[in-house]
């Protein structure tokens, strides 16, 4: 069988086939698909089906009949508030992490730093982007918590963070902590695009008498902005989905959508599984919109790719 399959070169297909050969070719094309069946089965059972199930569950009552009350329940002011806070935190951390990460990436690639900077910084970014969840929350509590090392250090130098209104266990605190994985994520995602920004373009602009700001206004940003926005969209998604970091830092009572879902799933007594379905459905819809934007931006940014 193996040899027969490998003989299916394009020229062989182009020739008109004998009826019996046609049947054989059809069998081979079915056989061609067999090795990938287990993967697609697994993927369907553990990703597709659970998601579909959840969406169906969002429109079902306890006993399984159709209802829209779960989804309508999403528009309660408490829940709307959770979505609003989630979206705001994701937006804020995508912006801070995105802008910070972009400038660091640009300085690393185009600032002519010593050679060893780039590999070291990229490695650090790889680790930091993967350093999240519980240990990240602990690290920041040890550094910027009420008795954290940095808090104590600043206090002994006359800057009392917690007196001046800052607390790690708040919206601002979450943004500061999320930035720890968002910034390196941005650095990793945006670096290839900055690499692709050709030096000739800036040289040509300079030769034609353009200032630095003119170069950025008319050349640099128009080329880069789809990649920058696209990367920030991904950062937005990663913050929106974050659960463990927030849970460890601010506790399950903080009004964020993932925490609200967790509260409904984990506790058997106050939990409401139907509401968890609807909440998760809402998250999927938002992430779906985010990914749609990302795809459109990707298409735009690939126009300039070599």
């Amino acid at each position: 069988m193996a040899q027969a399959v490998s003989q299916e070169s394009p020229t062989a297909v182009a020739r008109p086939l004998h009826p019996r050969a046609k049947g054989l070719a059809r069998w081979h094309s079915v056989a061609d698909w067999l090795p990938v069946v287990p993967f697609f089965l697994f993927f369907s059972v553990f990703l597709l089906l659970p998601t579909v199930w959840l969406v169906i569950g969002a429109f079902q009552t306890d006993s399984g009949s159709f209802t829209t009350s779960n989804v309508r329940g999403l528009f309660d002011s408490d829940i709307l508030d959770a979505y609003k806070t989630s979206l705001e935190i994701s937006l804020a951390s995508a912006l801070t992490g995105g802008i910070f990460g972009f400038f660091v990436a640009y300085a690393m690639i185009r600032g002519n730093p010593p050679r060893w900077i780039r590999p070291v910084l990229s490695t650090f970014a790889g680790v930091a982007a993967n350093f999240a969840g519980i240990p990240l929350a602990f690290a920041f509590a040890a550094t910027l918590g009420t008795t954290g090392v940095l808090t104590v250090f600043l206090k002994s130098h006359g800057i009392d963070l917690y007196q001046s209104g800052f607390t790690l266990y708040s919206f601002t605190g979450l943004v500061v902590v999320y930035t720890y994985f968002q910034m390196p994520l941005m650095l990793l995602i945006i670096s290839p695009s900055i690499d692709g920004l050709r030096r000739e373009w800036s040289e040509a602009a300079t030769n034609l008498g353009a200032s630095t700001s003119q170069y950025w206004r008319w050349v640099g940003l128009p080329v880069l902005w789809p990649s920058i926005l696209g990367a920030m969209v991904l950062l937005f998604g990663s913050a929106f989905a974050a659960y463990a970091t927030a849970y460890a830092l601010v506790g399950s009572e903080f009004n964020l959508v993932p925490l609200l879902i967790g509260r409904n799933v984990e506790s058997d007594f106050i939990g409401n599984p139907q509401q968890a379905n609807a909440l998760a459905f809402g998250m999927i819809v938002i992430i779906g919109v985010v990914m749609l934007i990302y795809t459109v931006l990707q298409r735009r940014s690939s126009r300039w790719a070599r």
Partner: protein, 287 residues
């Protein structure tokens, strides 16, 4: 050129800021974990952490889960990626998209979906679910395949999904780096079948790609909190959270230990990556 940074102080500023942002929390955590009482230093927190039997039992459980996840991921993905590269290049864009999906679907929602789908005889008796999945779900929850505690097996299978982006990217890059077609055609013309090609020709060439996939999966599983906690299973991250919530110094010590694990695993990937010339950008993690 040598002092390029000094020409534009902004670039220098951003790099210094980045270094501070990366390093200060790390220093803070290390310092805090070494404090015994304010002002005094010692390894008390580490001794306390490492002396707990629960530390070791949850740690080894998570290692076991990671092992299962790695094995299933590779068994599933190796033939698939191999075949798609060789015979079904049309499917590659499809796989590219599927491999991003686990980044896109939040782990919270995936956990909720999996719980609903596989809940054995739970409140959700919505017809089709039990007819379709009823039997296998008991079997999946029982942990009979890998001899794991009940439910853990389902978690390991769910982690295969979460690890899919890493596994796929590593294997995809690995296969792109070798001349798959020539190698397998050469082997076939010498009379070996597909299985032989995969086992004796492709696998040895993919050793570093497989290892880096395994390392990334390991860091993922050793840090994943969300799904384990929603599925009410006591893995290492769950233990870490419980201890850390009560003992501030031990929390810092655990953070250092977990960071060291991440470092070791990712440095492993990096060293391997250098040999295969694999310049994939790796994103994601258990946020």
């Amino acid at each position: 050129m040598k002092h390029g940074l000094l020409r534009n102080p902004w670039n220098l500023l951003w790099l210094v800021l980045a270094a501070l942002y990366f390093l200060v929390p790390l220093y803070g955590t290390a310092e805090f974990s070494l404090e015994t009482t304010p002002g005094h230093h010692g390894f008390d927190a580490y001794q306390a952490v490492l002396g707990q039997s629960q530390f070791w039992s949850t740690f080894s459980l998570s290692l076991e889960i990671a092992g299962c996840t790695v094995v299933i991921s590779l068994l599933l993905m190796l033939p698939t990626v191999f075949w798609v590269h060789l015979k079904l290049p049309r499917l590659r864009p499809v796989l590219d998209v599927i491999a991003v999906l686990p980044f896109v679907v939040p782990p919270v929602t995936l956990a909720v979906g999996i719980l609903r789908l596989f809940e054995a005889g739970g409140a959700q008796t919505s017809g089709i679910g039990n007819v379709f999945i009823g039997q296998p779900s008991n079997w999946l929850l029982s942990g009979s395949i890998f001899n794991l505690p009940p439910g853990i097996q389902l978690l390991a299978l769910a982690y295969v999904i979460l690890a899919l982006p890493f596994t796929y990217r590593a294997l995809d890059a690995g296969m792109r780096a070798i001349d798959l077609r020539t190698l397998s055609e050469a082997a076939q013309s010498l009379g070996s079948g597909w299985l032989k090609v995969l086992l004796w020709i492709i696998l040895p060439n993919l050793r570093s790609a497989m290892l880096s996939a395994a390392f990334l999966t390991l860091t993922l599983v050793m840090g994943e909190y969300t799904m384990a906690s929603l599925m009410l299973l006591n893995t290492f991250p769950i233990y870490m959270f419980q201890i850390g919530n009560e003992q501030a110094y031990q929390a810092a010590a655990l953070a250092v230990i977990s960071l060291l694990l991440t470092w070791i695993a990712l440095l492993g990937v990096l060293v391997l990556g250098r040999t295969t010339n694999d310049r994939e950008v790796r994103i994601g993690g258990a946020h």
